[in-house]
Symmetry: C2
Subunit: 243 residues, 2 copies
DNA sequence: TACGTTAATTTGTAATACAAATATAAAATA
DNA sequence: TATTTTATATTTGTATTACAAATTAACGTA
């Protein structure tokens, strides 16, 4: 005779606590930089033990919703979640998706061509002087042959993100961050040779000039060229890998 | 005299453990449905206590990377992360971003028009009979006036996702899921009135027919119409809210 | 006033015990 | 013998307690 009536608490306590706190953050009851009660207080309020509270907090920390500090002024604080703060999410989600779902380079390339072209059109229209300046800086850094492959990739990401930001459409920019992350494996491929690096950066320079001159069509054409080039490289690598 | 040399372990133990396990999952050492060692074993291997291991596991659970079950055959198992499994991430990330960064409806609408139009073009080309059948089901369900507002929204999400999937570009589909989530507030707005619901569903029906007939241009035109309509509704709501 | 020391607060980690769920094997019953 | 029930072992879930580490604030001293 199972007479349990009402909503049965099937999930674990730590998850229930985490969900309630997340709800509070989402609906604005807990605002950015607000300090949560101490773990002991939370334990009392929710009527659970401190380890349970901690597991709940770690769940939120994994989602980058909160941060923790020790000491008298310490505690758990709500994070302000902008594009950059949320990007870690997207990074892992995007990377996982690409690596676990056999997404072909063709699919990624086609999506990129479509979306980044749209960015170029918007960026050509709406770019400010600050946008141009920022792009210039990233480009200059990427041109430097002394930086490591990892740093080259990071600079590449920054360049593409800056273009997305230059569209001045926050939603588009946010989504582009996901896509840019998916392209990292390809970027990794070319980061180790100066020849390929130079070709990419020179293409970036031409794209930069086109956007600076507000010539979206030209920028898109160069993008198509770059994507073709990357796919060719990928094809070659695959061929030589078989041999 | 702080002589600590080498990479300093700044982050907490539970985070370090979580990162190592995540790395193993990401690089394929731990594959989908693999069972992790028991918490006691993990505690011994990492030379930390069981609560620490548990905090690490909860971090991964929050990211939906693992699931846990009790009992003899229980333990923690690696999740297979497809679009649907990762969607919870995107849901929260996207919802948070929209709610915390003052993304305007204009920005969302413009992005949606561009990207969903691309989906329509691809879907018109590549749709299979199964795609059509699935869309038909979702549409039929959404037309039913007896379903609750919540169920209406859910059906709306399914319909748009199905169209994205019909593009047969997994990368695009994945990204679209993020965007569809961002549209939920708007969808919520219209879910409570039959008049608005009927208008939306009739537009969906026309879009469905257009894709069925492989007429991408028509589908895109109806989409533009729908987006205009939603923006108009939003504008009206804002105006009456001021008064 | 300036500076070092101490104390208080809060998270981080550990150890241990027990509860709850669940599958497997054993035992009792028809 | 077949089937159901019962015990039992395993593993996660939760609670309790204690202490370590970090960090700030207050205090005392030169």
């Amino acid at each position: 005779m199972n007479l349990e009536i009402g909503p049965i608490n099937k999930s674990s306590l730590s998850k229930q606590v985490a969900d309630q706190l997340q709800e509070a953050i989402l609906e604005g009851t807990l605002k950015a930089d607000d300090r949560l009660p101490t773990e002991d207080e939370l334990a009392q309020r929710f009527q659970v033990s401190r380890p349970t509270i901690r597991e709940a907090l770690k769940r939120l920390a994994a989602k980058n919703l909160i941060r923790s500090r020790r000491g008298p002024t310490g505690g758990s604080f709500v994070n302000h979640l902008g594009k950059n703060e949320l990007s870690e999410h997207l990074t892992t989600a995007s990377t996982l998706f690409v690596s676990m779902n056999q997404v072909s380079l063709d699919e990624i390339s086609a999506t990129r061509l479509e979306m980044e072209s749209y960015c170029f059109r918007l960026a050509s229209q709406h770019r400010t002087d600050e946008d141009v300046e920022l792009l210039k800086q990233h480009l200059t850094h990427q041109k430097n042959r002394n930086i490591s492959p990892e740093e080259f990739c990071a600079a590449d990401v920054r360049f593409h993100r800056a273009i997305a930001d230059a569209s001045h459409n926050k939603m588009l920019s946010f989504i582009m961050y996901t896509l840019i992350e998916a392209l990292q494996p390809v970027s990794n491929m070319i980061a180790y040779r100066f020849r390929e690096r130079d070709i990419i950066t020179s293409q970036h320079e031409r794209i930069f000039n086109a956007i600076h001159d507000q010539d979206a069509n030209l920028a898109c054409a160069i993008l198509a060229e770059q994507i073709d080039y990357l796919q060719q490289l990928h094809e070659d690598a695959r061929a030589s890998h078989q041999a």
